[in-house]
């Protein structure tokens, strides 16, 4: 052996040592998806020695890998001689390995990104593919937690604390969108506003905690009677609003009457006291005269005013 080839051999030996110690999973697969190379990262995390997996089918050895999905990705690498990447967002992992930090880590398993690279032969055909597995658990866990926190913030910023209905700000945004949608598509929706009759008296007579219970009870009655597409919010102290999507004033009136009767028949019990209460409602159907969603609210408010004038515990449509 000449000096040159001895040097070459040394270099290859060092290179192999580096590859073995690389803290990244390296796998080589042949055209039949049989494992040809298995580095120490794979060995340590899977508990399987290279001789145990060599020439074995990837899918037989690792049932957690969705065969159809993986073939879909890998075949394009064989066919097109083009790299493919998969992220943990598609599938959390390819190989179900335990978290590298079993004690302080928050996830049970290792989130993985994977790169599939074509390994060509001299004639340009792809005969093998290389699989590189990256541990991205920390990134993934942080991202998932951040998203959960943001979702919760979003929910909180939209919700009225006492009733769990949408708050005024978010509800008005929804009404603005519905207004534009109706104008664009020519569909007919209605909005309804209602408030609790003589609420001040409830507070004065029974105290504020009971008053709060009444506000919650009205919200609950509203929630029960709501259809899936309706959007309900708490507009002010004892004022509530609902967008009734694809609903005419006539249909809205049926809905309003149902809600009015439900509330009339459902007294609130709190601290050994029973409070009977009623609501007055106003309805406005969208029409060409209404130029903004604010105006839409005004129209419904006028109908509500008529219900108050008319003796309360009733519903009216703006006309």
């Amino acid at each position: 052996m000449g000096t040159q080839s001895a040097e070459d051999f040394k270099e290859i030996h060092s290179l192999m040592g580096m590859l073995q110690n690389l803290d990244v999973g390296l796998v080589i697969l042949d055209r039949e998806y049989k494992i040809q190379l298995w580095n120490s990262f794979m060995e340590s995390h899977s508990g399987l020695m290279p001789y145990q997996v060599r020439d074995k089918s990837l899918f037989e050895m690792f049932s957690e890998i969705n065969e159809d999905w993986f073939r879909h990705k890998a075949e394009s690498v064989f066919l097109l001689n083009n790299r493919a990447f998969t992220t943990w967002e598609q599938r959390p992992y390819l190989f179900k390995f335990k978290n590298y930090r079993p004690i302080t880590g928050k996830a049970e398993f290792m989130y993985q990104n994977a790169t599939i690279i074509p390994l060509g032969s001299a004639d340009g055909r792809v005969e093998r593919i290389g699989l590189i597995i990256y541990d991205v658990t920390d990134v993934a866990v942080n991202r998932v937690e951040l998203k959960a926190a943001n979702d919760e913030l979003k929910r909180l910023s939209r919700t009225d604390r006492l009733t769990g209905l949408y708050n005024r700000g978010f509800w008005e945004e929804c009404l603005g969108r519905e207004f534009k949608r109706c104008k664009r598509t020519g569909s007919v929706s209605s909005m309804m506003i209602f408030d609790i009759d003589h609420f001040k008296k409830v507070n004065d007579e029974y105290g504020h905690p009971t008053g709060d219970e009444v506000i919650k009870a009205a919200a609950e009655a509203l929630n029960i009677s709501l259809r899936e597409t309706d959007v309900a919010g708490r507009y002010g102290g004892e004022e509530y609003v609902v967008i009734l999507v694809n609903t005419s004033a006539e249909q809205a009136m049926i809905y309003a009457e149902r809600l009015r009767k439900l509330i009339e028949q459902t007294p609130v019990s709190h601290l050994n006291q029973t409070v009977n209460y009623t609501v007055s409602l106003g309805i406005a159907e969208i029409n060409d005269d209404i130029a903004s969603h604010e105006e839409w609210i005004e129209y419904a408010d006028k109908a509500l005013y008529r219900s108050k004038e008319g003796g309360r515990n009733q519903a009216n449509v703006y006309s």
Binding site: S76, L80, N82, A84, F85, T86, T87, E89, Y134
Partner: protein
């Protein structure tokens, strides 16, 4: 940022970039056509030197009100670095799903699969085409999902771009007979433009 950087391109250089993009784009379209067995309509790539805050205007193939999804992928090699952005009109997913022959309901995760599949092909092939012509080798980072079902402004503004100028190559892919519309944007950093211009000048001298 170094103010003395040469961040201009001449008309000749622009033509040259256009030609290089054309070849690379053609190779990518060929791969896509082979994988999907369809005819890909070849657009003319648009090469522009622009301020990053003009990025939205560069995405001419997509309306600002459309709901879109996007991925980006960084690349670097021989002093040339940048990012590839693939932006998909959400209305395209139905047809793409048919073409890629994925079964099942079209939900968020399936859309992500489709997005990644197309990104793998188009970005990979385009970058390889450009690298071969410039005689460089690019390392590619892992793709990152920028967002799903957002509008263009949300997709772009969510990211705090640090460069002021970028060389942008926009390729708007369409597929014949299908409602598929996606924009591939190759963005090169300010520093990269200088390195690119040097490479290009060799080609222009020939």
């Amino acid at each position: 940022m170094n103010p003395t950087l040469n961040v201009t391109i001449t008309e000749d250089q622009r033509d040259c970039y256009q030609e290089i993009s054309n070849v690379a784009m053609g190779q990518a379209a060929d791969l896509l056509a082979r994988l999907l067995d369809v005819h890909v309509i070849l657009p003319i790539p648009v090469v522009n030197l622009l301020e990053v805050n003009e990025l939205r205007m560069a995405l001419s193939g997509i309306e600002s009100t459309d709901s879109v999804s996007g991925v980006c992928q960084g690349f670097i090699g021989n002093g040339i670095s940048g990012e590839a952005l693939l932006i998909f009109n959400d209305a395209s997913f139905g047809d793409i799903s048919k073409l890629l022959k994925y079964g099942g309901e079209l939900d968020n995760s399936l859309e992500l699969e489709l997005l990644m599949d197309v990104a793998n092909i188009l970005i990979g092939a385009c970058l390889r085409g450009i690298a071969e012509q410039l005689d460089v080798v690019f390392s590619q980072g892992h793709p990152i999902v920028l967002g799903q079902h957002v509008n263009l402004a949300e997709l772009i503004n969510a990211n705090n771009y640090r460069w002021t100028k970028t060389l942008a190559v926009e390729i708007n892919y369409k597929i014949e007979g299908f409602d598929i519309n996606c924009d591939l944007l190759l963005l090169f950093t300010e520093e990269a433009i200088e390195a690119l211009n040097t490479k290009i000048n060799f080609l222009l001298d020939d």
